[in-house]
C-alpha cells in the first residue's frame, strides 16, 4: 500500500480492518508486560506465546479467508488430530517413509476440505452444519481406525533429521520452527487476499454471493478451494505437532475450533463475511496467544485467562464495528480530492 503515501493519515489508518486488533494487541501486550515482568518479555517468554500463536495462526488464516468469503469451517477440530495420527500411523507405526506420511496427511486434509466444499456448494446447507457433521464424522473415523489398526489411541513417531529440521526443530532451543511456517502461510495468503484478483473475488463472495456469481466469479470453485486450503492447513498443523512432539493423540484439536474463530474475529474479520485482512488475523492470533500464555507469567491464577479472552472478544467486536462504521461513513474532503 505504498501508493497510499500522498494521502497517508491517521484517519486512513483507522479505517483499515486491522486497526481494532492492533490496538487490542498493544493493550494486551502492555498489560502482560507490566504484570508478567521481565520473564514475559524474555526470549523464552516470547517463545511461549509465539509457539502457541504459530500453530493456531496457520489454521486461523485459512479459516479467516473462509469467513471473509462468508463460510465457516469447524471440521479443523478433527483434522488437526487426523493429520497427526495419519503421519504417525503411516510413518511411525508402519515405518513408511516420512514423505509418504506427510503426503497422506495433507492429502486427507485436502480430501475432507473438498468434501466440505462440495457439500456446501451442492446442498446449500450452511457450512457450519456441514462442517459440524464432518467434524464428528472425521473424529469418529479417526478413533475407530486408529484403534482398529494400532490398538491404541496414541502413536509415537520418530521423524528423520530432514523432517525434524523442517517441521519439528526448536530454533535457539525455544522457538518452534512452526513460527516460520506461520509467517510463510501469512505472506502467501496475505498476498492472495490483498494483492491478487482472487482476493477481490473472496471479498466479493462474502459481500454478496449472488452478485459475485453474476459478475462471473466461479464462486463454487472458489468455495471448494478455500475449504481445501483450510483442510490442508489443519492437517499440516497436526502433522508438524506430531513430528515436533514425537507422538500423536486421537483427541488433540477441539480447542482449535473456537480459538481460531476468536483469533479471526478479534482480528477484525466480519462474521457475516466481506470484510477483513490477513494482517488483522495475524494480530488477532497473537493477541489470543498472549492472553492464553501470558497469564502464566503473571501472579494471577491461570483460570482467569478465559475471562480475559471472553471480555476481549466482546470488546474487539464492538471496536471493530466502530472502525467499520468509520470506514463506511468516510467521505473525502473536497480539497483532498484528486482526479
Amino acid at each position: 500500500m505504498t501508493s497510499d503515501t500522498p494521502r497517508f493519515s491517521i484517519g486512513s489508518l483507522l479505517r483499515r480492518p486491522e486497526t481494532g486488533s492492533f490496538l487490542g494487541l498493544a493493550a494486551v501486550f502492555i498489560f502482560f508486560w507490566i504484570f508478567g515482568g521481565a520473564k514475559f518479555a524474555s526470549p523464552s517468554g516470547a517463545a511461549g506465546w509465539l509457539n502457541v500463536a504459530a500453530s493456531l495462526g496457520i489454521v486461523a488464516i485459512p479459516i479467516g479467508l473462509l469467513m471473509i468469503a462468508g463460510e465457516l469451517d469447524i471440521s479443523i477440530g478433527s483434522l488437526i488430530p487426523a493429520g497427526s495420527m495419519t503421519v504417525a500411523i503411516t510413518s511411525g507405526y508402519f515405518e513408511l517413509p516420512i514423505m509418504l506420511g506427510i503426503g497422506a496427511a495433507l492429502g486427507l486434509g485436502g480430501l475432507v476440505g473438498f468434501i466440505n466444499g462440495m457439500l456446501v456448494v451442492r446442498t446449500a446447507v450452511p457450512s457450519f452444519i456441514v462442517t459440524l457433521g464432518t467434524l464428528f464424522a472425521v473424529a469418529g473415523l479417526l478413533l475407530g481406525l486408529s484403534v482398529l489398526i494400532t490398538g491404541t489411541t496414541s502413536v509415537s513417531i520418530q521423524a528423520g533429521p530432514t523432517a525434524k529440521w523442517l517441521l519439528g526443530q526448536f530454533i535457539g532451543g525455544v522457538y518452534q520452527v512452526t513460527i516460520f511456517w506461520w509467517i510463510a502461510v501469512a505472506l502467501c495468503f496475505g498476498f492472495i487476499l490483498h494483492f491478487t484478483r482472487y482476493g477481490n473475488w473472496i471479498l466479493a463472495m462474502g459481500g454478496d454471493k449472488v452478485s459475485a456469481r453474476n459478475a462471473g466469479i466461479p464462486t463454487e470453485r472458489m468455495t471448494i478451494i478455500l475449504f481445501m486450503c483450510s483442510g490442508v492447513c489443519a492437517t499440516f498443523v497436526g502433522l508438524s505437532q506430531a513430528i515436533l512432539y514425537n507422538s500423536a493423540q486421537v483427541s488433540a484439536g477441539q480447542s482449535y475450533i473456537f480459538n481460531a474463530i476468536i483469533s479471526v474475529v478479534v482480528g477484525g474479520v466480519l462474521l457475516t463475511g466481506g470484510y477483513g485482512s490477513v494482517v488483522g488475523i495475524v494480530l488477532g492470533t497473537m493477541t489470543f496467544a498472549i492472553v492464553n500464555q501470558g497469564i502464566y507469567y503473571t501472579p494471577f491464577d491461570a483460570n482467569w485467562a478465559s475471562l480475559i479472552i471472553g471480555v476481549l472478544l466482546l470488546l474487539a467486536v464492538l471496536m471493530n464495528n466502530t472502525f467499520r462504521k468509520m470506514a463506511l461513513s468516510y467521505v473525502p474532503k473536497k480539497k483532498e480530492a484528486r482526479p
Binding site: 501508493s3 494483492f195 484478483r197 477481490n200 452478485s211 466469479i217 466481506g274 463506511l328 468516510y330 473525502p332
Partner: protein, 271 residues
C-alpha cells in the same frame, strides 16, 4: 426500421402446473427504453430471469439482432451483452468503489504468479466511468460502496454495466427504494445510457418514472401483456388506469374464483 436488438416471441413459462407467463411478445431496439410496468406478481421478475439466463422459457424464442439465442446460464446472457442490475445489485457494501467496480474482471499488473490487482488503475477507471455518467460526487475510488447513497450505489451498478459493454441493460426497479431526488439521478443515468445506444429495459411500477424516460411501454398483468404502446400514445392517467384496471380485473376474477371454490366446496344441492 432496424432489427430489434432483443426480441421475444411467444415466450411461455410455467413452473409445474402453474403458468406464469403467457405468449409474451416484446422487442427492444438500441437507444430505446422499454418500460415494463406491472403490479407485484404480474410476472416481471420471471421475465427478467428468463432474459438474464436464470430460467429457461418453457416455449418461445429469444432473438438477439435477428439471431435466435438460448441463454443457458446468467453468464451466457452476460456474454451476449445482457446486463441485469437489481436493486443495489452488483455492488458490495464493504468493498472500495474501485474493487467493487472490477469484481470478476480485475485489472492486473506484473507477471506469472505475481500478477497483482492494479488498484490505482481500477480506482481511476471506476471513478472516470461513474463521473462520465454524471455522478460527479464520486471522486475517490478507495471509498467504500456502503458509504454511498442509494442513488449513487444504483448509479455505480449501472455505470459498471455500461462500462463493460452491455448492449441490453435490464434495470429491476432501480428507483423503488429511492427518494425523489435520488430517483431523478438514476433516471438521468438511464437517459445517458440510452443516448449511448444501449437498449434499456426498465422495470417499475411507478408510472411517473416510466413516463420520464420511456419510449415504449408494456403493461404486464397476470403473466400476459395487457397493453403495448409507444410514447405519447397514452397519457399518464390512462397508464395508471390500465395498471389499476388490471388490478380490478384481477380482483373480479379472484371473487369469481372464491365463489366457485365456495360453491363446489359445499355438498351438492338435492335436486
Amino acid at each position: 426500421m432496424t432489427t430489434p436488438i432483443l426480441k421475444l416471441s411467444d415466450i411461455n413459462k410455467s413452473f409445474g402446473p402453474i403458468d406464469v407467463l403467457h405468449d409474451i411478445n416484446l422487442e427492444v431496439r438500441a437507444g430505446e427504453v422499454l418500460c415494463l410496468l406491472g403490479d407485484n406478481g404480474a410476472g416481471k421478475s420471471t421475465l427478467i430471469k428468463i432474459l438474464s439466463g436464470v430460467y429457461q422459457p418453457s416455449s418461445g424464442t429469444i432473438e438477439m439482432q435477428g439471431q435466435p439465442e438460448v441463454f443457458a446460464t446468467p453468464r451466457a446472457a452476460a456474454e451476449h451483452g445482457i446486463a441485469t442490475v437489481h436493486q443495489f445489485g452488483g455492488t458490495f457494501p464493504l468493498m472500495s468503489i474501485g474493487r467493487s467496480f472490477f469484481v470478476g474482471v480485475e485489472p492486473t499488473k506484473g507477471w506469472g504468479p505475481f500478477k497483482v490487482f492494479d488498484r490505482q488503475t481500477a480506482n481511476t477507471l471506476a471513478v472516470k466511468a461513474v463521473q462520465s455518467l454524471g455522478i460527479t460526487r464520486i471522486t475517490d475510488g478507495d471509498r467504500l460502496v456502503g458509504g454511498l447513497s442509494g442513488g449513487e450505489r444504483q448509479s455505480l451498478a449501472i455505470a459498471r454495466a455500461v462500462h463493460f459493454g452491455a448492449r441490453v441493460l435490464i434495470l429491476d426497479e432501480p428507483t423503488a427504494a429511492l427518494g425523489v431526488k435520488q430517483a431523478s439521478h438514476v433516471l438521468r443515468i438511464v437517459n445517458e445510457a440510452k443516448k449511448r445506444g444501449l437498449a434499456v429495459i426498465f422495470i417499475t411500477h411507478q408510472v411517473m418514472h416510466a413516463m420520464a424516460v420511456g419510449d415504449h411501454f408494456a403493461v404486464l398483468i397476470r403473466g400476459a401483456i395487457a397493453a403495448d404502446f409507444r410514447k405519447g400514445e397514452k397519457s399518464r392517467e390512462e397508464i395508471t388506469d390500465l395498471m389499476a384496471g388490471g388490478e380490478t380485473m384481477a380482483e373480479l376474477e379472484a371473487q369469481i374464483d372464491t365463489y366457485m371454490d365456495a360453491h363446489s366446496g359445499h355438498a351438492p344441492q338435492p335436486a
